[in-house]
Amino acid sequence: MYNGKYIIPGIVIFVGLFTFPFWSNLLTPKYERPQLAMPADQKECIEPAEYMRAEHMHILDVWRDQALREGKRAYVASNGKVWDISLQNTCMKCHANKADFCDKCHNSNSVSPYCWDCHVAPRGNQ
């Protein structure tokens, strides 16, 4: 091999960088899905859990537009139930703790929604 004194360190740096997620996680404890604090007195959200998991951000976005820009305050869920379109009064009535509900998944997956630029973040019963 020619020019090994340049090429071998280059290969080592490349492999080191590429395998960074593997060796940097050597000491990481086993990753668990974040456990959310579910509301104690409610069993159902406005839509099924799978749908909420995938689409909650979209619902909130649409709700924001409907409530603030169009003045519509009624949401008809897929099961026909009518809900008041309001983050403060509908969502946060049950999901009263941002730190134990919203932030768990958002922090773990590096999602930073800008809900709380305007809204007051709920802090549960503290």
Binding site: M1, F14, N25, R33, E55, D61, S108, N109
Partner: protein, 335 residues
């Protein structure tokens, strides 16, 4: 072109069918591991293979005045003659694609006469593609690190600063598709480039478009369960693979195309990622005349000195009356 397109579509279909028919562990865990191994192994093998090829003389592409007499101004970057100049040239090449910046287009106009234009589009979109892809690559580390470092959050903040839609639109996603679209379009609509384009030129473009497209589809439209995805990706990097329930097919298509890209990478033109550092036309100083370069594969030279010659033929030479450096007596005395 169509073969490449069909191949990528077929790969997408394989992943989709596989995810739907119970091969999720194969696609989500086994193939990514295999692909990473092939990628690293293949990459190192290609580099070592190249490193074994001797480069006996300097063959830099010169794009400026060579170092000459003191009163002639040399081009320190375009015809570098020092290590610093060569490193500078390489840095500009690797980070800013300086050769593409010099790209020209040639055209025959009425007359007939040949006209050369400066053509910067290729440079612009190539640069755009590479930096967007790097940014997207780095952004994905949020799935491999826990907790997510602040730098990643900061990158995402800047990338999504336009706050369009939910989940927030990343500028790099849009730009990478635009850049790939341009790189594909120039192969399709420029006759000269189309003529020299082969299946292995189109395939990486379609594969990257498929990869980026499936990622965009997954993030903005199909919406997979991202918390479950992170359980899977963290399982992969902690060597503790798990397959959580309820990840959508879009994710399996995405990771399958990624595995294909990783496994294909070392054996394709995409190896220019490593190859650019080993380009003898760029990484050598132009000092052909200033420094003696010895061909490394030359056999050891066999030569005979005059003293050895005289030692052999001294007596014959003396007999014939030829002059010698040492007479027989002197030689005998020295022994």
């Amino acid at each position: 072109m169509f073969i490449s397109l069909l191949a990528v579509i077929a790969l997408g279909c394989i992943a989709w069918l596989g995810a739907a028919s119970g091969f999720q562990y194969l696609i989500g865990v086994v193939l990514p591991y295999a692909a990473v191994l092939v990628f690293i192994g293949g990459f190192v093998w290609r580099i070592v293979d190249w490193a074994k090829s001797p480069v006996p003389f300097r063959i830099p592409t010169t794009a400026g005045q060579q170092k000459s007499l003191d009163w002639i101004k040399p081009a320190r970057l375009d015809s570098p003659f020092t290590t610093a100049g060569t490193v500078g040239r390489m840095l500009l090449e690797v980070l800013l694609f300086r050769s593409l910046f010099r790209n020209t287009s040639v055209e025959i106009q009425k007359g007939p006469r040949v006209v050369y234009y400066s053509a910067k589009w290729l440079w612009l979109f190539a640069l755009l593609f590479h930096y967007c892809f790097l940014l997207i690559f780095i952004r994905h580390f949020r799935f491999f690190l826990e907790p997510v470092p602040f730098a990643l959050t900061a990158i995402e903040f800047v990338d999504g600063i336009m706050q369009i839609g939910v989940p927030r639109m990343f500028m790099s996603d849009v730009l990478v598709v635009a850049a790939l679209g341009f790189l594909l379009a120039r192969r399709l609509f420029s006759e000269k480039i189309r003529y020299i384009s082969l299946a292995n030129d189109y395939f990486p473009l379609f594969l990257l478009l498929g990869l980026v497209g499936s990622g965009i589809w997954m993030r903005y439209f199909a919406k997979v369960d991202i918390a479950a995805v992170k359980v899977l990706t963290m399982g992969l990097v902690t060597m503790n693979p798990v397959l959580p329930e309820g990840i959508g097919a879009a994710f399996f298509i995405h990771i399958f195309l990624l595995s294909c890209l990783l496994a294909y990478f070392p054996f394709s033109k995409l190896m220019h990622m490593g190859g650019v550092f080993l380009s003898p036309t760029r990484n050598l100083p132009n000092n052909t005349r200033a420094v003696r370069h010895v061909n490394p594969w030359n056999p050891p030279k066999k030569y005979r000195t005059y003293a050895e010659y005289e030692d052999e033929f001294r007596e014959l030479m003396e007999e014939a009356g030829l002059p010698v450096d040492k007479t027989s007596e002197e030689a005998a005395a020295a022994e």
